[in-house]
Symmetry: C2
């Protein structure tokens, strides 16, 4: 997981924005999140991921993918689908997922 912003790639590419509030029952969550982060890197066209979490509040995970084929592969992954089902059953109080095609992007890095 990057602790610098993932770069502003040349459009078009895709972002997946997953925002969630969790339940008190987080048994197994951290291991699954680590495994998903490892697994997604095997998807051709995966570009990067960021996550930020307010303590006791909302979490936001953003994924970056080159094209619809990369998204489709990630969506169809069996281990990913099993993790999604467990998330609904146990880990999430509520979530929203937005899948969007990037039309413009801008990046800034402070000069040394």
């Amino acid at each position: 997981m990057s602790e610098q912003p993932v770069e502003a790639f040349e459009p078009p590419y895709y972002v997946t924005v997953f925002t969630s509030v969790k339940t008190p029952d987080q048994d197994g969550y951290a291991e699954t999140a680590d495994r998903m982060e490892e697994l997604v890197q095997s998807i051709p066209g995966y570009l990067g991921m960021e996550h930020a979490q307010n303590p006791g509040g909302i979490g936001i995970t953003v994924g970056y993918f080159r094209d619809g084929e990369a998204l489709a592969q990630w969506r169809a992954n069996e281990e990913h689908r099993a993790a999604q089902k467990r998330g609904i059953a146990e880990w999430y109080e509520s979530y929203s997922l937005h899948i969007a095609k990037v039309e413009r992007s801008y990046g800034f890095t402070r000069p040394d």
Copy 2:
């Protein structure tokens, strides 16, 4: 700022994903962020916003807008532009901004 996920609206709509790492100099930042949150609500077609921050690390702000006209109004807002300039001059070590059109969305809320 919502502490629940902003809803998964009916596509199409737009998301703006702003990810940043801040400098040590945050003088005036909180007041400006509060003012921008107030100001964006006056934009017709503004749908909502979420923010999550890792302590000492990355922050992610996601904005939701109905259409390109709403985005254009927010981009052209003079007070917003002044805040962006101050951000580059003082507050941000690095950032990326991705502006994207939502093609699919999914929401989940745990039944009571």
